[in-house]
């Protein structure tokens, strides 16, 4: 009874943490601009099935793809056992599904055990790959400190989880036999249990089984509570992120109707609506902070698990430039977190100067802490991008770092009138000469020359 109460309390605490912390992340994501993303449900669901559930893009690199699949599959299938553990924990049962499921139960647990074993192997390899093999993408500048520790903590948690599963099932197996009920017949623990725990006293085995049981569920709870602080959120957010993925051509940059209409009215193509003059504030172009990005950009940032596949294929990064698409995503997330923290604390020092008076609450609308995304991302990084889409192609969970880079470039050029000085002659030439170079020749001189020769 005592353990049931302890379990129920723990479940409540975890539930509370999940509710508040995940709610906070949802709030942070929605700091981004509203953008209606809907339609094509069939295509979107197909993407979720193939890319998120099926991990299609992970397999572009086959070895990590397969290893990751082991961990992923073990995680997914273990959910069944987790439901059983929660029911057992709340109602003081032991393996509540076994009597009703019979042979299928043996099959499911065996399946979980085999996948857990494969996941264990994969976890060791991943730990070695992260820490021993000097894989460049795990050792870039942005991967020091917390991101590095975060990556390792998750893997260590994974190790504890699997060890607990086998301790639980192994000790239980020996107990079961000791009680004359024969073997459970689970694929791994029916052999592993007696090999490790055989010969131990019933009391020791009972304690070990409980350690395994509690250790398993505590690790899962810790994991849940840890996720909102970790890059590991991709296990949840990958699904909505893939669902809301851009379906139009990669080659199309988001149009800016305000500018289009202004140019159209300048060219006399449409009636001047005078909308521009009646606007109180000058319109803002591009993005320099979370509020200017789309909520989908911020969802991208929270979905990023820092695998670095984007940066490892980025031509700028490969040739030693400062740009790393992964860092762009991490910067957007860190900035959203920073704003979120101010909002949580209702830090009224961050109220915009013109809205200071009368402000009793810090909100998204009156927020101004004097910082922006440009405190995280330098112009040099933005200027190094070739818009080649390699990062977009590489991301296993369809994150689009390029979209963010381009919005920041728009801010730099349109709002700040800054940007690389070398671009100015190109802009001027297009404006005045209709070509990217200022050349006095006729545009069809090449043709005339050819016809005359």
């Amino acid at each position: 009874m005592l353990s049931q109460i302890a379990f129920a309390s723990l479940l409540l605490i975890v539930g509370y943490i999940v509710f508040t912390k995940y709610g906070r992340i949802r709030r942070n994501i929605l700091l981004g601009k509203d953008e209606e993303i809907s339609g094509n449900t069939g295509e979107r669901l197909k993407n979720v099935a193939l890319i998120a559930l099926g991990q299609k893009k992970m397999f572009k690199r086959i070895i990590p793809g397969v290893l990751h699949f082991f961990i992923y599959a073990a995680f997914m299938i273990t959910q069944i056992e987790l439901i059983e553990i929660i029911i057992d924990g709340l109602f003081g049962q032991h393996r509540v599904f076994r009597s009703s499921l019979g042979g299928f139960y043996t099959f499911i647990i065996s399946f979980i055990e085999i996948l857990s074993l494969l996941a264990l192997i994969a976890t060791f390899i991943f730990l070695a790959r992260r820490n021993l093999l000097k894989l460049p993408r795990f050792h870039m500048d942005e991967m020091t400190g917390w991101p590095k520790l975060d990556g390792n903590l998750i893997l260590i948690g994974e190790l504890i989880l699997v060890v607990c599963i086998f301790t639980m099932n192994g000790a239980d197996e020996v107990l079961h036999r000791m009680q004359g009920a024969g073997s459970y017949g689970f694929a791994v623990s029916s052999g592993l249990g007696p090999a490790i725990f055989g010969g131990m006293s019933e009391g020791t085995l009972q304690i070990l089984e409980r350690i395994g049981w509690w250790g398993h569920i505590m690790t899962v709870f810790a994991f849940l509570a840890y996720l909102p602080f970790s890059k590991h959120l991709h296990i949840l957010l990958a699904f909505p992120n893939v669902y809301f993925k851009k379906l139009t051509s990669r080659g199309e940059m988001t149009n800016m109707p305000s500018i289009m209409n202004e140019v159209k009215s300048m060219m006399g193509l449409i009636e001047d609506t005078g909308a521009q003059d009646s606007m109180e504030e000058l319109p803002k172009f591009g993005a320099n902070d979370i509020f200017d990005l789309s909520w989908k950009n911020v969802l991208d940032a929270y979905t990023c698990t820092e695998c670095g596949r984007c940066s490892s294929v980025c031509p700028a990064n490969i040739t030693g430039k400062k740009l790393s698409p992964r860092k762009i995503m991490m910067d957007v997330r860190d900035r959203a977190e920073e704003i979120g923290t101010h909002l949580d604390k209702n830090n009224l020092e961050c109220v915009k100067a013109d809205k200071k008076e009368g402000a009793t609450k810090l909100t998204k609308e009156n927020f101004d802490d004097g910082k922006s995304l440009f405190d995280y991302i330098t112009n040099e990084e933005l200027h190094a991008c070739t818009t080649c889409n390699a990062c977009v192609e590489a991301c296993p969970v369809t994150i689009d770092p390029l979209d963010i880079i381009l919005q920041l470039r728009r801010h730099e050029i349109l709002d700040l009138a800054a940007g690389p000085a070398e671009w100015t002659p190109m802009f001027t030439a297009i404006e005045n000469n209709g070509a990217v170079w200022q050349i006095a020749d006729d545009r069809d001189k090449w043709a005339k020359d050819a016809l005359n020769s």
């Binding site: 940059m253 172009f285 294929v313 818009t387 390699a390 728009r410 671009w423 190109m426 209709g434 043709a447």
Partner: protein, 266 residues
Amino acid sequence: MSDLKQLKIDTMADFSARGEEPEILFWVGCAGSFDARAQKVSLAFVKILNEVGINFAILGNEESCTGDPARRAGNEFVFQMTALQNIETLNMYKVKKIVTACPHCFNTIKNEYPALGGNYEVIHHTQMLQDLIDQGRIKLKEGGVFKGKRITYHDSCYLGRVNGVYEAPRKVLEQLDAQLVEMKRCKTNGLCCGAGGAQMFKEDESGDKRINIERIEEAMDVKPDIVAVNCPFCLTMMSDGVKAKEKQDDVMVLDLAELIVQNNVL
């Protein structure tokens, strides 16, 4: 060759004056119009169009930059100005079908002009070349000048990864009786030449290496006689890379249209 058809390059204005409409508009682009090296590609493509008897026109002085580099640099104003101007012209001539030898022009007209009111069927010249070969309208000579030569094909970002055209150019190359060798990073994984996103118009940011050098080194690894490209900017970048490696006597950088012209001695 004496049986070569007389070279003919009319503008849309010429067609309009005669009250005629061409089958297709050849969008030449800034590079194809002004860059000395890319002009040769324009000419090669025009020779092919002439040879197979396609009734085409160019816009001549009525063509402007599509605005790709301005837009990607972040200058939406300049993009909208030049793009809307082009759309006005194209719609005035009731253009329906466009072919271009530049993947940046291809992408912008195909994917970005519709939102501004410009809707056309747009193809890249390598797609057209493949069609013409498939239809038997271009017959490549067996045992031509490329017999036994090693050709590696550099995927441009805006034809390949952005628009998913990987096979058409390769099918064209397969017809040349040459040996097609792939670089380590090809197709969806192809490495950029370094020119896109308006990089063509500025120096590289500081780093260890220029991107075109990285790419040409990768090309050199497969020991090609020819690096085949489909984009005037890749053409510049890869040619510069070959020169930087002092390999210009051993390795040629050529557009697919040029390869066909040389094979058939047009």
